[in-house]
């Protein structure tokens, strides 16, 4: 604000210059009076300079002290005392020194100089005090108050004109009346003391101390002003300046009323502080969610706040819900186990006696020692308050508060503690919701990655040849991701096909899928037989699969030179087959244990190899359990029989069409709801034709 700075600098400069000019003029006048010689000094100049001085000091302070004060009130008070009030004490020193000085060095101008210094300090102090009090009066202002203050200021400044006109205003009754009214106005302004209510107890004591010091300054200033006003040596006296008198009166009344109000509000401060603390604690409870704090911290805040709000001598908080494992957080303040047991057993008896089996209501007892339910326990407490932490859905626990005095909990306290517990329950529930949604978010992200991995692991290009057709289908369910299949050309006439399903879901399933794919490509370089492959894959997976995971898989090696398929099944779904010579559809019923279930050498006994010579026109259907376990709305399973029937109806079609027919049927059956991954491979063998 360069404008304000300019005004401040200018007013400071004018004030200094006008005060020096005033002093010079006063000295000239004094010289004139002593010697009788004519000088440049004029009476009206004194008045003019003093008015200019007052005006510039007040303007300076007006722009220095902005009306929007913060809640810290001791700082402005301290500034007022140090920068303004101390002037009175400086004058006190001068005053004490003056008679002695006068004795040794009788100078007719000494008093005038002293009086001008006093005047300078006084005006500075008044300006500072006036605008400091404006800050205080306008704290939490209303529109009316602002207008009233504006007029108060204007009217006061108007009274500055009186000395300029050089009238003996004491003689004019109407002027006197006006000034009396203005005085009444300033007394009225002094009732605006809201700021005192916002002081804490410590600050109130500090303010009272400062106000006393400021009050002493006002009295000292006033005293000096009037003490010398009648001295014949004095050329000019300010006791007939109405502006000075009015502001002095205003500053005095406001300081005094502030002091009195501060003193008398001391006993109630504690109550206000308590209410403020309650409010802050309440706020803290509701803010804990945003700050991402834990439930334990929320309970801690509740516990501490409730003890502070109720003034309990002993307390404990029991939390922990049914169906939630983990050690419940223990909060205890001066309550021993024996005491807690006594109270709780007494409480059960009391509930029984009262016939209130509903234990989740507030329990209040103000005379424990004489209550039959608690008699005999010899408790050191008279009052007990039990506050349940319940929501419509859950019970979170109980808060026990004890006081040594009788009827120690009033309705107000109970209300506050209850709002704390309500807020706590709300906060806990919100906290859980937030955590849940975070968890879901993470889970979704994980699934996205998993399905991406799954998508990459499944081959996009299929082996094409003249002796067979192959058609594939793969659809991942939202929740489960574990199906995979792959091909590997072993030699010109042999191809390996693997299909599998990894247990589990999300990242870990995708990870095991990738491992399985690696194992397939790695091991098949050695051109293993299907059962040998399974044994070695089992041994490899035993080292990396977690205990609860396993993989079902089936491996097929098709040799078209020999026109045969050899395969092994490791816990995977049976293979569906259509034999065109016999015109028969059936499942290959072989035995074979899933991978990762038995993790030692005995696994070799659990896996078998089957060899089958195929004919052109034969169809082999390989799938995962997502197909046969697909469920209809009535929770019926699609089943092997229905799949078999479908093939027996469609075997004459091309592989692509057989696949489409089956998938359409499955989708119809489930009404398009997917519970599990579905993978389907249809292989149709054809007449061997020479490769060109």
């Amino acid at each position: 604000m360069p404008q304000k700075d300019r005004i401040k600098r200018l007013s400071f400069f004018t004030a200094s210059v006008s005060w020096v000019l005033l002093l010079v003029n006063v000295l000239l006048l004094a010289y004139q009076r002593h010697t009788g010689e004519e000088t440049l000094g004029q009476d009206y100049l004194s008045n003019l300079f003093s008015v200019v001085f007052i005006l510039s000091v007040f303007t300076f302070q007006r722009f220095r002290l902005e009306p929007h004060a913060t809640a810290g009130f001791t700082k402005p008070l301290w500034h007022l005392f140090v920068k303004g009030g101390l002037g009175a004490y400086v004058c006190l020193l001068l005053n004490v020194g003056y008679p002695n000085l006068n004795l040794y060095w009788a100078n007719p101008y000494l008093l005038d100089i002293f009086y001008q210094i006093l005047f300078g300090f006084l005006v500075y102090f008044l300006g500072k005090a006036f605008y400091t009090w404006r800050q205080f009066i306008l704290y939490q202002k209303t529109k009316d108050l602002q207008t009233q203050w504006k007029w108060f200021e204007i009217l006061l400044y108007v009274s500055l004109l009186v000395p300029l006109l050089n009238v003996e205003y004491m003689k004019f009754i109407f002027l006197m009346l006006d000034l009396a009214l203005l005085l009444a106005y300033s007394v009225y302004m002094s009732v605006h003391l809201r700021w005192v209510a916002f002081l804490s107890l410590d600050r109130k004591w500090g303010s009272i101390f400062l106000l006393t010091a400021i009050l002493a300054s006002v009295v000292l200033f006033g005293n000096f002003l009037f003490q010398y006003s009648d001295s014949p040596e004095l050329v000019i006296d300010y006791t007939d300046n109405p502006f000075i008198l009015l502001t002095l009166a205003f500053v005095f009344t406001y300081t005094l009323s502030s002091f009195l109000v501060a003193v008398f509000s001391l006993p109630t401060s504690k109550v206000f502080e308590q209410k403020n603390a309650d409010l802050r604690n309440f706020q803290r409870l509701s803010q804990t969610i945003q700050q991402g704090q834990s439930e334990e911290e929320v309970y801690s805040i509740l516990f501490d706040s409730a003890i502070k709000a109720s003034g309990a001598d002993s307390a404990w908080l029991e939390t922990g819900e049914e169906g939630r494992s983990g050690i419940p957080p223990a909060h205890n303040e001066g309550a021993e186990q024996a005491l807690m047991d006594h109270i709780k057993s007494g409480l059960t008896r009391a509930h029984k006696e009262r016939g209130t089996l509903h234990q989740d209501s507030i329990f209040l007892e103000g005379d424990l020692r004489h209550n039959p339910a608690f008699v005999g326990a010899d408790l050191p407490f008279y009052s007990l308050l039990v506050m349940p932490l319940v929501s419509t859905k859950r019970k979170y626990g109980h808060l026990y508060l004890l006081r040594e005095v009788e009827q120690g909990f009033d309705q107000d306290t109970i209300d506050v503690v209850q709002s704390f517990t309500n807020q706590t329950v709300l906060t806990i529930e919100n906290l859980r919701l937030v955590q849940e949604s975070l968890q879901n978010e993470r889970y979704k992200e994980e699934l996205k990655i998993a399905s991406l991995v799954q998508d990459r692991l499944i081959p996009k290009t299929f082996p094409t040849d003249t002796w067979f057709e192959i058609s594939t289908y793969s659809q991942a369910a939202k929740e489960v991701g574990g199906d995979f299949y792959d091909f590997l050309q072993l030699s010109e006439s042999r191809i390996a096909i693997i299909i599998g399903d990894v247990s589990g879901k999300g990242i870990s399933a995708a990870f095991h899928m990738a491992q399985m794919k690696g194992i397939f490509h790695g091991l098949m370089q050695q051109d293993l037989l299907p059962d040998e492959f399974m044994v070695q894959a089992n041994s490899a997976l035993s080292r990396c699969l977690e205990r609860t995971s396993f993989i079902t898989s089936a491996l097929y090696i098709i040799d078209y030179k020999m026109q045969g398929v050899s395969f092994a099944r490791a816990g995977h779904c049976h293979t569906l087959y259509y034999n065109s010579m016999m015109e028969d559809t059936f499942y290959f019923q072989t035995e074979g244990l899933g991978l990762g279930i038995m993790r030692d050498a005995s696994y070799a006994k659990r896996i078998h190899r089957l060899h089958y010579d195929y004919n052109p026109g034969d169809v082999m259907v390989i799938y995962t359990d997502g197909i046969v376990e697909a469920r209809s709305e009535d929770q019926d399973e699609y089943g092997e029989d229905r799949l078999k029937y479908m093939l027996s109806q469609t075997y004459h079609l091309e592989a692509e069409d057989i696949k489409s027919a089956i998938i359409n049927d499955v989708t119809d059956f489930t009404n398009d709801t997917l519970h599990d991954d579905q993978t389907l491979l249809v292989i149709k063998f054809k007449q061997r034709q020479p490769n060109n």
């Binding site: 929740e479 574990g482 399903d501 247990s503 589990g504 879901k505 205990r547 609860t548 995971s549 396993f550 079902t552 490791a570 816990g571 995977h572 779904c573 049976h574 035995e591 074979g592 244990l593 899933g594 279930i597 038995m598 659990r606 359990d625 929770q635 399973e637």
Partner: protein, 112 residues
């Protein structure tokens, strides 16, 4: 999914009610991981009301299988529904685990 257990002498009978999927298998795992279960020499699993078992559910049984075998605790399933039994069979688990049709049969085998 509800899991109930009844105890007599050295036998604990665990009844499974509902669908044993990824979320409910955690409960079952907690139940079977409880150290006190090792005090029994026979664990009978009543599958009468078990309508569905997912790979996660199977994984729980598989992971505890070896532990029970080492401690010479007999794990016997009974009253298994056809489709659930089918899952066990396809995976080859019927050869590793004892699955019988009725409670009486389970008790007889357990006492062998």
């Amino acid at each position: 999914m509800k899991i109930k257990h009844t105890i007599s002498d050295n036998t604990i009978t665990i009844s499974l009610d509902g669908e044993l999927d990824a979320s409910s298998s955690v409960m079952l795992d907690e139940e079977l991981s409880n150290p006190s279960i090792m005090m029994f020499s026979k664990i009978l699993v009543d599958c009468k009301n078990l309508n569905y078992i997912s790979s996660a559910g199977l994984g729980v049984f598989i992971s505890h299988l070896q532990r029970f075998e080492d401690a010479q605790i007999k794990l016997i399933f009974f009253n298994m529904q056809e489709k659930v039994r089918n899952v066990f069979e396809i995976l080859g688990l019927d050869l590793l685990m004892t699955i019988v049709s009725s409670y009486e049969e389970a008790v007889t085998i357990a006492n062998d």
